[in-house]
Amino acid sequence: MSMVSPHIVIIHDDWNENYPLVLELREKYGDDNVKFLKHSQAGIDYLMQAPTQKTIVVLDYNFKTGEPTGGDVFKKIRQKSSLVYVIIVTKSRPKDISPDDFIEFVNNHALAIAQPSGDYTEISRLVEIAIQQLEMRADVILEEWIVEKSAEDREKPFMALADKRIYTLNEILENIRQKTPLGDEITKDILGLAIDLVLKKMNTGNA
């Protein structure tokens, strides 16, 4: 399977295109793979229309009053997909983050909350971890595999699942992105199958 490059979206209103982190990430992952946006609403608009596979969002928490907050952006992202990694950047002390937002972050897997004590290299390191994890996650790999199929193929009935219904790849993709019990089940089954196959291969190889 071909590897899709990670796509990094930075949304931060105190920064600009030339901000150290933006430059650093562009240097590491290529100009085309790093998108910088200054306003949270623009961030939401962008993320809602962009493909989400292998996406990492570096998100400011403290937007100016009147704009959607970091918490709002996060919720929007999660409504669309739970496969996007989000790194929250904040100037606040943890106790200044609204506890409701915090619980939202934790329960919906924000990858990390970057404190103001560190510098941009710390966030860069978190992006690296996110990419490693994205590349190893079975659901992300599945997503990547499904998205690569043609639109036509994705609409064809693909497999029958435990509930006896036949699902198309698009429906499976939706379930994986939304992390429904069904989506989790498929991911687990396929992972199990993959391990089985790898083990068999190893056994045959050894024989």
Partner: protein
């Protein structure tokens, strides 16, 4: 995971979320040991316990034998409860049902499941031992927070959902039930003083006036202080020495709510009935301590300033807020109900939380609009809660009137007595003179008497003038005090500005450090050098601004008003740009004003910050300031095109705790400070028809000057 008990004796459980991140916030939410214990006690309450035993062993210093045990006789937890609720964050199992089972019918008090992280605050190792009635075995789960600590420091990112927590079963009696938390490797030392504090805080868990049935008793033991704490039942102490007590009730049938009312004629507080309130019916008891009562109270309790501790809200007999948060310094206490922030106007007249013990009783059933905030320190900001706060403040304002009345009375009594004494001495001297006149032969005997009387008369006159001077001095001190209070307001704003600047500087400096030299980034290095310099200039300004407070006295001096205004607005250019506010300053004339720089700064800082708040979310934001000479005065017109001031509110806006920008963080002190500052400069401020009518606000400030 194993599903049937029979096939498990020993195994492991995993958290269902990344506990490490959550611990961070847990530590921030539960900042205090007493709060931590309190959270756990609430869990015991929710589990229908009638008794909780708190045992502290060897905690006076940190050691391996230290242990805190919290044991209740509640329902206990099943394996599924632990797996599906305890190990999951933000579980809302408690909220689906409002009541605990009969005969308790307790309204659940712990709603968000943050309580379990309280354990982490207390110690690094936890053993939960629990059993439901009817089960054969006690279930034990061991959670070692240290293990998480170790993993979080490891280079490789480990998900804590992958960490195993050991559990096992022990035989038990079928009728036993309850939960015990054994916390070892206790994090902090507990002194006798801490235990006393804990006792005092725990005594507030259950309302002293509306006790709950079945009971909820807490027993406290410490093996290091057996005389004081050996299975000691925690009870609320009776409130003694209060100078007044008021009890407000409600009538569900007639839909009335009692309120306090001050009768000017009699100088007494009476209770009146009003219609039902939007937040629902409440029962309230206030104990007010006037100066004499406070002295008595402090004498009895050795000046323990934390005992008269303001208003507490109980829901269904159990404390909800302020949430058992201990702060030894009264000024640092959280002011959830906004009681003390209203003091700034009349610090010496208003009733503060240090003069009041108040119990407000609400219930989930009758006050459904009052909902706990997740941070457990307050309620969710909704209309019902705002009105409840306002209701409480209104009652306190009535008590303030009583306070003023009592003080004026005693002041008047004292100054009347002085005046009377003065007159009486005068009569006395006149009488002596008359006797002298009639009987000149005894003049020599009367002489020392007359001399004494004259001395007394001088002393009394001196006393009267001293008293007047003291009053003036008092007013002056009040001004200084108020000026310092406004500083508090800038502090967080300034800190935020400093932090933003510093983090930008740090990032750019780090980039240069990491990449220099590199021809590819040549232009970036140059750009950063300029930006770092600019940020430094901003920082310098902020620091200068702060220093102007440190150095300046409340002295008056001559100053060019034009210069002062222009410089002041310069300070805000950056924040105007970031808020997209267009600024127009037009100072036509210049005069020399005899004023105090700080007072002027305060005036503009507050006007500007008010406008910025009023402009949030508006389009084409404008702030306009013009200045010109008008007769013998200098007039300043200050306008914005923000949300404006509601009709009918024109009078209230200069009141201390009145605000139309609460959502934007307005505390309602800005315009009050503006007004008092202008008055200190012997000027006036009034609200005019907005230059941007129908939007916006326009103030006219008039300051006198010497030509």
């Amino acid at each position: 995971l194993p599903t049937a008990k029979s096939d498990i004796n020993s195994n492991s459980l995993r958290w269902r979320f990344d506990v490490n991140t959550f611990r961070l916030i847990g530590r921030e939410l539960i900042t205090d040991r007493v709060t931590a214990v309190f959270e756990l006690i609430k869990n015991c309450y929710d589990a229908n316990s009638t008794e909780v035993r708190l045992n502290f062993a060897n905690v006076s210093e940190r050691n391996q034998q230290s242990q805190i045990t919290i044991t209740d006789n509640g329902e206990g937890m099943s394996f599924a409860d632990i797996r599906d609720k305890w190990m999951v964050v933000g579980t809302n199992s408690k909220r689906k049902k409002l009541y605990s089972p009969k005969p308790f019918n307790r309204r659940y008090v712990g709603e968000k499941g943050i309580g379990r992280f309280a354990v982490d605050k207390l110690g690094s190792k936890l053993k939960i031992k629990t059993k439901k009635r009817g089960e054969a075995n006690w279930l034990s789960v061991v959670i070692n927070w240290d293990e998480y600590e170790r993993l979080s420091k490891a280079a490789q990112l480990t998900l804590f959902t992958d960490v195993d927590n050991h559990f096992s079963y022990e035989k038990g009696n079928i009728n036993e039930h309850g939960t015990s938390l054994e916390i070892t490797k206790v994090n902090e030392q507990w002194s006798l003083n801490d235990f006393e504090r804990l006792e005092k805080e725990l005594s507030k868990v259950v309302s002293p006036f509306f006790p709950i049935e079945p009971p909820f008793n807490i027993y406290l033991s410490s093996n290091e202080h057996p005389e004081q704490f050996s299975e000691k039942l925690i009870k609320a102490e009776d409130v003694q020495f209060a100078s007044s007590k008021f009890q407000l009730r409600y009538d569900l049938v007639n839909q009335t709510q009692d309120v306090l009312h001050f009768n000017e004629a009699t100088g007494k507080v009476i209770i009146k009935k009003t219609g039902a309130k939007i937040f629902g019916p409440v029962q309230v008891i206030f104990y007010y301590f006037n100066e004499a009562a406070k002295r008595k109270y402090h004498a009895a309790f050795k000046n323990d300033d934390t005992r008269i501790d303001g208003i507490k809200i109980y829901r269904d007999g159990v404390l909800t807020t302020p949430f058992a948060e201990f702060e030894s310094h009264p000024d640092k206490k959280r002011d959830i109900l906004g009681i003390d922030k209203r003091l700034w106007r009349d610090i010496f007249n208003r009733v503060s939380s240090r003069e009041i013990i108040g119990i407000v009783e609400i219930s989930k059933e009758r006050n459904p609009g009052i909902i706990d905030a997740t941070n457990r320190q307050d309620f969710i900001d909704r209309e019902e809660y705002r009105q409840l706060k306002e209701f409480i403040i209104e009652q306190l304002n009535v008590i303030s009137k009583l306070k003023i009345h009592e003080r004026e009375n005693s002041k008047k009594t004292a100054s009347d007595a002085l005046e009377r004494a003065d007159t009486e001495v005068k009569y006395f001297i006149e009488a002596i003179q008359e006797i002298e006149h009639e009987h000149p032969e005894i003049k020599r005997f009367l002489k020392p008497l007359k001399y004494q009387a004259k001395e007394v008369s001088v002393s009394i006159k001196h006393g009267i003038s001293e008293q007047k001077k003291a009053e003036i001095d008092f007013a002056r001190k009040e001004t200084i005090y108020l000026s310092l209070m406004s500083l508090q307001d800038y502090a967080s704003k300034l800190a935020h500005a400093v932090r933003t600047s510093l983090s930008k500087i740090k990032d750019m400096a780090a980039f240069i450090k990491n990449k220099f030299p590199n021809a590819k980034h040549e232009n970036i290095f140059k750009e950063y050098a300029v930006l770092i310099y600019d940020e430094m200039v901003t920082l310098n300004r902020v620091v200068d601004f702060m220093l102007s407070y440190a150095g300046s006295e409340l002295e008056f001096e001559d100053m060019h008003i034009k210069d002062v205004i222009l410089k002041l607005f310069q300070l805000y250019t950056a924040s105007f740009t970031s808020e997209n506010i267009n600024l127009s300053v037009d100072v036509k004339d210049d005069v020399i004003l005899y004023a105090n720089r700080r007072l002027l700064e305060d005036i503009f800082e507050n006007l500007i910050s008010n406008s910025v708040k009023a402009l949030r979310g508006r389009k084409n934001k404008m702030i306009k300031c013009s200045g010109f000479i008008e007769d013998d005065t200098f007039a300043i017109i200050f306008s914005d095109n923000g949300i404006g001031i509601k009709q009918g509110d024109e009078e209230k806006i200069f009141d201390i705790y009145y605000t139309t920008t609460a959502e934007q963080g307005g505390a309602g002190i800005g315009l009050f400070i503006v007004k008092t500052r202008i008055e200190a400069l012997k000027g006036t401020i009034e609200l005019q028809k907005s230059e941007f009518f129908p939007d916006g606000t326009t103030f006219k400030i008039v300051l006198p000057f010497k030509r």
